[in-house]
Amino acid sequence: MEGAPRIRPAGDRALLMEFGTEINPEINLRVQEFSRMTHAHKIPGIGEMIPSYCSILVYYDPFLLSFAETSAWAGQFLSSEPLLNQISAPVKEVPVLYGGEYGPDLSFVARHNQTSEEEVIRLHTGQDYLVYVVGFSPGFAAMGIVPPEIQAPRLSSPRTKVPAGSVGIGGLQTGIYAVESPGGWQLIGRTPLKLFDLQKNPPSFFQAGDYARFYPIDEKEYRRIQESG
């Protein structure tokens, strides 16, 4: 793990802690650990944090803390023992209507991997995925790692509008677009769940560190869940 862990300034009000330089569950769990511990302790002067795959951006209040003070505090965590699997994170179930107009790229993903659409669905629903990061757009949950048999490259030209609830595959990741936005992942299905809700706190259904488990539904079930809101 070259050059990591390390702490670098990100301007005059934030620093970036890098725990590693690859997408890997152990490194991501370390990011989650740090994020949870900091939330739990409410340290004066430490502001919001943006956890990602293998790093976390930490804002601090320049009226209270300097870069040196903040990085010394953050550095203490880096030398602590990882808890790894001692954190229990929820597994959240996600019903998905695969293929057809809801998943226009399912056939491409199957063809690309020289397999059938049914096999893509079977493999996609066959394991739990760690949510590495929530971001890009409101509530977008990026998770992994997708079995090699159903991985697929991103679109060469992103769609300008991807409907809310779309489930995609981008390289070795899978994820869900929580709101309508542009996007370049291969769309294999759609969930009727509302994954970003302004009326809820937190507004996002998924948080980094959660696990997701997909299961297939038919159009009738899709409508029923959508209507029950």
């Binding site: 670098r8 009000r13 919001e48 943006i50």
Partner: protein, 317 residues
């Protein structure tokens, strides 16, 4: 109530931003020049983070349905109250049924209108800022349109006392055309070769037409890389300067996405955000490197001016 007669080119409701939700993918939005909005609010007796209007290049026409103390700050867009020219950075009394309009732009890009009581749209996630990507906050999540009626909060009890008062010029950021702005190098400056960093710190970069509240795309000497590896997506601070493969830097601002994966050569210091917010496409930016401590001192010095103003205004009452 404020009635929108004409919306102007691009006018949105903003406060100091929606902080605390970036880990859910929700951007901060908020005033691009937070100092100017804060100063205008203090002039009309509001808390500095009250919601006002961010007015871009070409101003709206607005009718006040009741007597209002107002202040305009930031860009000079030649404001007029019932046709009479009024000064920027000054608290002015707008009588009931008067109309605020703007003529041609004289300097700067974004003007801020604060009104006594603040624009009182319902807060979403603790902020009234318009978040265009998420289509929420502000007025129905969008720029204002003709015939919108903008709700205004109850004015503070002493709102008339500030009328005629100006924000001291010595307290303002050093607004100027083609500014040199300060950056802290990193977090990924090691991705670039020394000639690339030298070009970034010694030659001007022009703000292109593809520039908005999400970010400014800049054009200049390409910044060359030495490390070809892909960077893994990470969180973005306000003022992040990322460099895509074409070597032309992008300065990311308040409507940026929360995470991205191009290497970040440097991050603008917050004290110089106002200078960037008031620079237009076609203007040039030059970058000079400072330490995080120098950035911190500059931030504390500038934002302390708001506190100093509050204290002096209070002692006059």
């Amino acid at each position: 109530m404020i009635e929108v007669i004409k919306p102007g080119l691009f006018t949105t409701i903003q406060d100091l931003g929606r902080w605390g939700y970036q880990s859910y993918g929700v951007g901060i939005a908020g005033a691009l020049d937070p100092f100017a909005l804060s100063a205008a609010n203090l002039l009309v007796g509001n808390p500095e983070g009250a919601a006002g209007l961010e007015i871009t290049i070409q101003g709206p026409a607005l009718k006040f349905h009741r007597e209002t103390a107002l202040a305009i700050s930031g860009a000079d867009l030649n404001p007029r109250l019932d046709g009479q020219s009024i000064p920027n950075w000054t608290c002015v009394l707008a009588p009931s049924a008067s109309t605020l309009s703007f003529k041609a732009r004289k300097g700067g890009v974004r003007a801020y209108l604060a009104v006594s009581g603040g624009i009182d749209v319902p807060p979403v996630m603790e902020s009234r800022s318009t978040y265009l990507l998420g289509k929420f906050g502000g007025f129905a999540g969008r720029a204002i349109k003709a015939q919108d009626l903008l709700p205004v909060g109850d004015p503070p009890a002493n709102y008339l006392k500030g009328v005629g008062r100006s924000f001291p010029e010595g307290f303002l950021p050093p607004y100027r055309k083609n500014p040199t702005v300060r950056v802290v190098l990193g977090p990924f400056d090691e991705f670039f070769c020394s000639e690339g960093i030298r070009a970034f710190l010694s030659t001007p970069y022009t703000i292109t037409a593809q520039s908005d509240r999400m970010g400014y795309r800049l054009q200049g000497v390409p910044i060359t890389r030495q490390k070809k590896e892909e960077l893994i997506t990470c969180g973005l601070a306000n003022g992040t300067i990322q460099v895509p493969p074409n070597g032309q830097p992008i300065l990311l601002l308040v409507d940026r996405q929360t995470i991205a994966g191009y290497p970040v050569i440097a991050t603008l210091i917050h004290a110089d955000l106002p200078l960037v917010a008031q620079s237009a496409p076609g203007d040039e930016l030059r970058f000079s490197a400072v330490s995080p401590d120098e950035g911190r001192e500059a931030y504390i010095r500038l934002w302390s001016n708001l506190t100093k103003y509050k204290q002096s205004a209070f002692s006059l009452r």
